[in-house]
């Protein structure tokens, strides 16, 4: 057939390509059309099952499920600006005891504490015990005025800034406010090494310089 001048392999029409049983003006054979149609229907069916399933599994990435709430940690008299007082708050109220976490609270000291431009200082400094390396619980050592992590030896100074070990940024803090003479603890925030405030990041995420773009803010926080 290829030798015949009547047929052209590159013709638009099935008749022109010499396909048996072709209709005039037909560009796609019925067989090909059926194949394509069956694959399309199959693809749509698979997508109709797979996409909702995938969305179901990935949904929590795009919603903030922990609402902002203020937790009372005691009267103002309980705290001073010299040393930290440990308090227990509930970081995730839906999991019972597993959601509880220790924080260290002291009064803000405008002599000693750094105030970054454009960021209101918090009336109380509430330090999270979640190590900025991989999330183990740090402990405040009164004698040295430092926070120490038991897992990989991270050491933080009095303001939570990194002084040694693997942590990549200072300890996180929580927003604080005073209502009716009582100290209340709000949402978590993270800090870079200049103690500038950022939306909460996971431990191990750097926040200095260009690193803050490599570890972006997420919809869940």
């Amino acid at each position: 057939m290829a030798d015949s001048p009547k047929f052209d392999k590159k013709s638009r029409y099935t008749g022109g390509r010499g396909i048996a049983g072709s209709f005039e003006g037909e560009t796609v054979t019925r067989r090909r059309l059926m194949e394509g149609g069956a694959q399309l229907v199959g693809g749509v069916t698979v997508a109709a099952i797979a996409l909702p399933g995938l969305g179901f599994a990935l949904g929590p990435l795009f919603e903030d499920t922990i609402p902002t709430r203020w937790q009372d940690v005691g009267p103002e008299d309980d705290f001073n600006d010299e040393s930290y007082v440990p308090r227990v708050i509930n970081a995730e109220p839906r999991v019972g005891d597993a959601g509880k976490t220790t924080i260290y609270v002291r009064r803000f000291d405008d002599q000693r504490d750094k105030v970054n431009e454009g960021q209101d200082p918090q009336p109380y400094v509430a330090i999270s015990t979640r190590c900025a390396h991989l999330g183990c619980p740090v402990r405040y050592i009164q004698a040295s005025g430092k926070f120490v992590c038991p897992c990989h030896g991270g050491v933080y100074g009095f303001e939570g800034q990194v002084e040694g070990g693997p942590p990549v940024r200072p300890l996180d803090r929580f927003y604080t406010r005073v209502t009716g003479g009582r100290v209340e603890i709000g949402d978590r925030f993270s800090l870079n090494s200049d103690l500038e405030r950022f939306s909460p990041r996971d431990p191990s995420n750097h926040l200095d310089g260009l690193w803050q773009y490599i570890y972006p803010s997420r919809p869940t926080t």
Partner: protein
């Protein structure tokens, strides 16, 4: 119903043996053997299992094949043992942050043989990790990853990663202090990856904090998603082994006679 019809007469079965002498009555043993053979024959006729199994189980192996070649099968049997004990553990385990620890300790302390089954699963996981690494070492040092078996090496690496994921997701489930903090650290390790790391951690935790569905998520990955993938990939791995055959150990020299002799 062909099965219920009497089998066609055969020589020696018509009351006479080959020499024309009256045959003895078939004993109960003969009848049982006959019944089993006909049942297997019925299946074989409909599935073609015999030629497949003969090719799969009695395939030729190179000279010098030794005990190291059993490490892959050993890993697979460790996986099967994990799957079986895991199914039974799932009958008593409750993947809920307030009940997980108690259900796990009930398995150990109260359920009949619970300690044994949980122990098998717990130590079996370590055995499987050890075996899969030995198997990978064998493949590497014998050069068995080379052409045409590269794809099987790639599948094997994916199986290794999935096996490690089984270890990671299973570690949380007893939900004691050790598993809780180990998982916190492991999830934060995932978060340290650039750009997608934080999202990966959110996926594993189902949120920004270790939440009420985190343990259910780990449980689902541990007993449904990852084992399903492992089982499917073991199938592909075995198919390629059977199709491509195994390699001779590297210390075995090719016989030059065979290489250069041509049949005329």
């Amino acid at each position: 119903m062909k099965l219920l019809r009497p089998s066609p007469p055969r020589p020696g079965k018509n009351g006479r043996d080959q020499n024309g002498a009256p045959a003895t009555k078939p004993t109960a043993k003969d009848q049982a053997v006959e019944g089993a053979a006909s049942a297997i024959g019925w299946l074989d006729e409909r599935t073609g299992a015999t030629p497949f199994l003969r090719g799969f189980l009695y395939r030729k192996v190179p000279k010098g094949t030794n005990w190291y070649y059993t490490l892959g099968s050993a890993t697979m049997f460790a996986f099967l043992s994990q799957a079986i004990t895991g199914v039974f553990l799932a009958m008593y385990y409750e993947p809920d942050p307030t009940r997980a620890y108690e259900s796990a300790s009930r398995i150990t302390n109260e359920v009949f043989l619970g300690e044994l089954v949980r122990g098998m699963h717990r130590w079996g996981s370590t055995v499987m990790i050890v075996l899969i690494f030995l198997h990978m070492g064998r493949t590497f040092f014998f050069g068995a990853y080379k052409y045409p078996r590269e794809l099987n090496w790639v599948i094997g690496v994916v199986l290794l990663v999935l096996t490690l994921m089984m270890g990671l997701t299973g570690y949380l489930l007893p939900f004691d202090q050790r598993s809780y903090w180990a998982t916190i650290v492991a999830v934060n390790l995932n978060a340290s990856g650039p750009v997608i790391g934080p999202y990966l951690a959110d996926f594993l935790r189902a949120g920004s904090e270790f939440g009420p569905t985190t343990i259910a998520r780990f449980y689902s990955l541990h007993m449904l998603a990852v084992p399903g993938l492992i089982a499917a990939l073991i199938g592909a791995h075995l198919y390629l082994v059977a199709k491509l055959g195994t390699t001779a150990p590297p210390w075995l020299k090719a016989e030059k006679k065979d290489l250069f002799t041509e049949e005329v």
